[in-house]
Amino acid sequence: MSRFPFAPPPALRPENIQARFRSALHEPRTAVVLGRWLGAAFLVCFLTGLISHGLQDPPGWLRNHLPSRPVDGYRITQGLHVITGIACIPLLAAKLWTVYPKLFTWPPARSVLQALERLGIALLLGSAVLLLFTGLLNTLQWYPWPFPFRQTHFWLAWIAIGGLLLHIAAKAPVIQENWRRVRVPVVDGRRAFLTGVLLSVAAVTVVTAGQSVPWLRRFDLLAPRRPDLGPQGLPVNRTAVAAGTAQTSGADWRLTVTGPRGYTLTLDELAALPQYTAQLPIACVEGWSASAHWTGVRVRDLLDRAGAPESARLRVVSLEQGGPYRTTEMESSYAHDPLTLLALRVNGEVLAADHGFPARIIAPNRPGVLQTKWVSRLEVLA
């Protein structure tokens, strides 16, 4: 057994430090059970995050294949993203507590491979904690860090999932040995501890999930949103004041549609066109969502009138003074969906300024930031 010249004094020798952790729960079976739950939650977060990224910022090859169904797709996937992300907080804390004595392995590594494995764990831990922290604070729209949220969160997710796969590969024998309960002995208190972790997950879920799950709304005590609180009973992400559109007058407003046979309509003319009502959710990447009855003109009717072809994509321009979503693009699958509306009313009332008066886009399975408000132009793209 090799001894290092700088070996620490007996009281601080690694086996002595590790032996000072008295709980019997710093053991592999507990780690494997928690790891399974946490791994599943991470995977759900990763996949639902990719879905949102794909819908918001599609790479070129995907652009023409974005589905406008299921209607509630974005609402469910992003609700799930935030619910599982919040569930990860107690799960990750419990998992890390269980394996914490491993931190004091000495010497830190006995081979290059082990050094790389521990480096991989550092990447996994750093990215995972930062992902949960930035994700949670993003739902509060609180940004105390100096880097951009969305892109950093996105790339860190790849690092975390990559680190997780490496970690699973490195620990595969231990995982296999502890996969089934019958193969490991009963450890006093393990079941009670795991039950406590599940209760913690249940508690944080119950007090926050009401922002996206309607039947949990009455327990929504700590979520940053309540889906029924806001003008006309709906939350908003960008107010008319913030967008500089609070003073928009219906009389002066015009809708311009460009295309092979472009035209301009007043609000009265638009309201005189055939009106449709659709029940659609407004759903945000921050997890909250709310369903409402929207009434307005079908976007496909407006495109037909402009002589746009079936395959036409659309650029939507808002009256907003600035911001990254002042103009958005809409793929043909959305533009031609019979549920996609240029809405003038919500739940029977004329749109409030905060909801995009005089007209806004509302489409199924679509990120909230792309449901452009205060629309002034629709440009048909070839």
């Binding site: 019997a24 082990q114 990447l123 100096p146 990559g162 002995p185 406590g196």
Partner: protein
């Protein structure tokens, strides 16, 4: 580290598991490196993150330092305090309540901190979060109190049932919620009647047979110091052997599931008993396990696992004298162990 299933003599099911393990390792390694590379490349080349990469790295490192260096030590201190201040019977409900409270606080405190800070958007953070957080903590506290009271009542009921005089197996029928119970039956038959029975303390042999359903009989006696037969086992030896073998079995298990490949194990255990005016008692058992492991990087882990085995050992947990272990771990690869044969190295009987 070698996969556990590669150890010679692994049984068939483990070999199948070994295949799965190998596939998991190869796929995990290749896929993990690919995703890690993709994420790292993206972070370095993304036009929005550009110029912020060092900040991201520092924040991630800070997250590790704060978690491992501040949060977990606080948690451990809380756990130690809990063990000292809270009676054992209610420790589980109290600990569970604290876990739930901590989890709820992790989401409640940030919201409470930002309660009035909604950037002019009244639909963001529209609730009284400080009040709600305290309300949730109150509910958790009340439920914890109720659960603790129930636990105390149930524990009291169990004590009543298990009071002296109650039949030892009475608890078996009861559905014990906490743990599985096992029962062990042995039969001891005295064989030392020389014809006059115990008419005099010199008139009988201490010899007896120990039987347990279908197992080889143990011919036993008492310690020669108490007129026993030195050629036979005695209760004191069996007790020391029991502590020693129990420790070994737990130890081998923890090694097997903890990635340590043990290739040899001998334990020259020794117990000390002292007599007093009432009779006597064991004052200590010292285990001296000499363990051989397959490779050098397992040594530190192998040394540390004795503590786990000691904590788990059924017998050591049941006796009222300390069980110490003075282990030594050396390296010998599995192939060497096979060549040398199972007998080599086992020179000490551990019972002298």
């Amino acid at each position: 580290m070698k996969a556990v299933s590669e150890v010679p003599g692994a049984v068939g099911t483990q070999r199948t598991g070994g295949m799965v393990t190998t596939v998991v390792r190869v796929v995990g390694l290749a896929g993990g490196l690919a995703l890690l590379g993709f994420g790292g490349y993206g972070l370095l080349t993304d036009q929005y993150v550009s110029g912020h990469q060092l900040q991201v790295a520092l924040w991630a490192a800070g997250a590790i330092v704060l978690h491992d260096g501040v949060w977990v030590p606080v948690l451990l201190a809380a756990g130690a305090l809990l063990a000292r201040l809270v009676p054992e019977v209610v420790r589980i409900p109290v600990r569970t309540g604290l876990m739930v409270a901590a989890a709820v606080s992790a989401v409640g405190i940030p919201a409470a901190l930002r309660e009035h800070d909604h950037n002019g958007n009244a639909t963001l953070l529209p609730l009284p979060y400080l009040r709600n957080w305290l309300l949730v903590l109150l509910v958790v506290a009340v439920l914890t109190g109720l659960a603790s009271a129930l636990t105390v009542l149930r524990d009291h009921g169990r004590r009543q049932q298990a009071r002296p005089g109650a039949r030892p197996h009475a608890a078996e029928g009861e559905k014990a919620a906490m743990a599985r119970t096992h029962s062990y039956r042995t039969e001891v038959g005295w064989t030392g009647n020389r014809g006059t029975g115990t008419s005099d303390y010199r008139s009988y042999d201490r010899s007896h047979d120990i039987d347990a359903d279908g197992r080889p009989r143990i011919q036993a006696s008492s310690d020669p110091a108490f007129r026993g037969d030195p050629a036979r086992w005695n209760p004191e030896l069996l007790l020391v052997a029991s502590v020693s073998e129990c420790h070994m079995l737990w130890y081998l298990h923890y090694c097997a599931v903890g990635g340590v490949v043990v290739t040899g194990y001998t334990d020259a255990a020794e117990g000390t008993m002292s007599e007093d005016e009432k009779g006597g008692r064991f004052t200590e058992v010292v285990l001296r396990p000499r363990v051989e492991v397959a490779s050098a990087e397992m040594v530190a882990r192998a040394e540390a696992l004795h503590a786990d085995a000691h904590r788990a050992c059924f017998i050591a947990n049941s006796v009222n004298f300390p069980v110490r272990h003075e282990g030594a771990v050396t390296v010998r690869s599995p192939s060497e162990a096979e060549e040398a044969g199972p007998e080599s190295g086992l020179t000490e009987s551990g019972t002298d």
